[in-house]
């Protein structure tokens, strides 16, 4: 019963409320309660909701995830380094089961006025800074998970760049799930405010130590002012027993450039909702994505781009590799609103099905209310090109290696767009490591 599931989450809130971060801060307590009420009204989405038609969330409804407390267990160095980027100089904030872990985090020198903080510091130094943001997205339709995130918010990564600030080194937000024996939930919140003419590279990593079976419900908000230039990477490689729900909201100013990559490899069930508002002339967004899954994994990407002003651009490039009984969903909605002339929107979704039982539901959704626009979309679903396999075999490459190599090449079309070499390299190695004959295919790339 869905109502029962909703009640379970509401009851859990009642139990945990006094222990939630900032419970003593009146505005935050009120914001959390407001979000919970919103969730209580709306309930979980069902398969009857058009946006959730292909993604059953019953396991999330049925499981009683306990809110993760601060983990008493530390991390081993090796556990941490596995998720870091060798050779990348970066600022790193580590969160364990959603809670900021000071001892593992390293923050280098930042330009004057730049803030990179977590919730406790914000509440201490600037308690009102977040008050406008916490419940900003809970009114959206099908926002149950955004509302839950606001109600239960475990911790916050807060990044603010004043105008003209340029952060040279990327910021890495590393969210690690630990603890195999219980089902825990964490609700991270990421807030990025990039002023005019700023530049930022931001990486969100979601990883597990061991076979965790947690729920990660994360929400990212990015505001890019005029001419801000942001590269964003989300790398989700949680345990294949984990549940992952991600909401991202991007709002862009004039001539701003945002490029966001979603690399989804882990979790038994993962859903990424990405909503972009191009509400100023010349704003441009690029969304790249790669999902590579097998077994009984399910990954769903829902993107929604609103072109609200003239001369805005969007480009989406998503690729999927599916094995076993895996199932993926890609829904790319693009709305060109009246008056958003000279909009350019391009969407590509290509899928490689490596087994009979894998399934993809891909759907472009273009709504165009302006007449002078350039919009295109294309979705493909296919198997490996047997002519290419034969060509490689006719050059002495064995069949398994040929197939692996072509699979890698297909997926790398997304990874090769990642500009920081240490990030790209780690992901390429990760991908290679998952393929058969991984040692052999290294020779070709």
């Amino acid at each position: 019963m869905r109502a029962e599931a909703t009640r379970r989450y509401v009851a859990e809130f009642g139990r945990i409320e006094p222990e939630l971060a900032g419970a003593q801060v009146p505005w935050l307590r009120a914001a959390r309660r407001r979000a919970l009420n919103r969730f209580d009204e709306a309930g979980f989405p069902s398969l009857r909701d058009e946006d959730w038609k292909y993604t059953p969330i019953k396991p999330i409804e049925n499981r009683g995830f306990r809110i993760a407390g601060r983990s008493s267990r530390g991390l081993k160095d090796a556990e941490l380094t596995a998720f870091q980027f060798q050779g990348l100089s970066c600022h790193e904030l580590v969160f364990v089961n959603g809670h900021y872990a000071d001892s593992w985090s390293t923050l280098g020198r930042l330009p004057a006025g730049v803030q990179v903080q977590h919730l406790a510091v914000i509440l201490r130094e600037e308690p009102e800074a977040l008050s406008d943001h916490i419940h900003r997205y809970i009114e959206h339709p099908s926002s149950a998970f955004a509302a839950l995130n606001a109600a239960f918010m475990t911790d916050v990564a807060y990044i603010r760049l004043p105008d003209q600030a340029v952060i040279e080194d990327p910021i890495h937000l590393l969210f690690i799930s630990t603890g195999e024996n219980e089902a825990l939930a964490s609700y991270p919140r990421i807030f990025v405010a990039a002023g005019a003419d700023t530049r930022l590279q931001l990486v969100e990593s979601y990883c597990s130590v061991g076979e965790t079976q947690h729920l990660t419900n994360t929400l990212t908000e990015i505001v890019a002012e005029e001419r801000a230039c942001i590269e964003h990477y989300k790398i989700q490689q949680e345990s294949i027993r984990n549940y992952h729900i991600g909401n991202m909201y991007i709002a862009q100013g004039q001539q701003s450039r945002v490029m966001s990559h979603s690399i989804a490899l882990g979790a038994i069930l993962a859903r990424n909702d990405i909503a972009v508002k191009l509400d100023a002339e010349g704003a441009a967004i690029t969304l790249n994505g790669l999902y590579k899954i097998g077994g009984r994994q399910h990954v769903d990407h829902h993107t929604c781009i609103d072109h609200l002003k003239p001369h805005t651009q969007s480009e989406e490039f998503y690729k999927g590799v599916l094995e076993g009984h895996a199932r993926a969903v890609f829904n790319g909605k693009v709305v060109v609103h009246a008056g958003a002339q000279k909009t350019e929107a391009k969407q590509t979704n290509q899928n490689l099905l490596l087994s009979q039982d894998a399934e993809i539901d891909t759907k472009p959704e273009l709504q165009i209310y302006a007449d002078d626009v350039k919009c295109s979309h294309g979705a493909t679903v296919g198997q490996l090109d047997e002519n290419a396999v034969f060509y490689l075999r006719a050059r002495g490459i064995d069949k398994e290696t040929a197939r692996s190599l072509l699979t890698y090449a297909f997926a790398d079309a997304v990874l090769s767009r990642i500009s920081p070499a240490p990030i790209r390299t780690r992901l390429e190695r990760l991908l290679i490591g998952q393929l058969p004959e991984s040692e052999r295919i290294k020779e070709f790339i």
């Binding site: 290419a388 006719a394 050059r395 002495g396």
Partner: protein, 251 residues
Amino acid sequence: MLTIKNLYVRVEGQEILRGIDLEVASGEVHAIMGPNGSGKSTLTHVLAGHEGYEVTQGAVTYQGRDLLSMAPEERAREGIFLAFQYPVEIPGVNNVYLLKAALNAIRTHRGLAEVDAMEFLSLVKEKVKRVKMDEGLLSRAVNEGFSGGEKKRNEILQMTVLEPRLAILDETDSGLDIDALKSVAEGVNRLRHPDRAFILVTHYQRLLNYIIPDRVHVLVGGRIIKSGGRELALELEERGYDWVKQEAVAA
């Protein structure tokens, strides 16, 4: 080196080759000519091991071994090279790395040490010059965005580096301008050797002005209906295929 006996092949239920007999000895160059749809490409693909072709009868022996029981990669390692009529574009796979892996697959198979990156690069650069290929194409993805002529030169480069025992060229001359045609021919002529054989599949005799074949075979309707020396190619050029067909019917 290669003996084909009474070979019958089906593609998607349709019989394309109907009793091919062919004997190719070391050191020889054989040209196979024929009109479109006669089964020329099918023959090259069957020899290279394409799985889409069903052999219903007959046998092929290569260096004393049953060729048809070998996987395509094993044939390649045993020295069979097919220059494709339509070389496949493979985005994401580096052209020169593929070539190096191909060479090392053959060397390892023969019990030779692999060549290292430096050795290989100097080898390849020398051969690139010989086939008059743009060096920039080496670092690109395999055939991706190559022109028709560049793809064919790339095939000849691969052949030159891999030094096969039996090279099968499937209409490598089609669509080439005269300069490209000449460098393809030079590539073949330079590799001619008593231990090596060539099968040139071609639609026109033009290529045979530059590569002098030992034998010419006419393939029509899935059968070799006439064989002869070099002069047969010239006669075909002059008189077309109809007279050979009529001769065959009369016989």
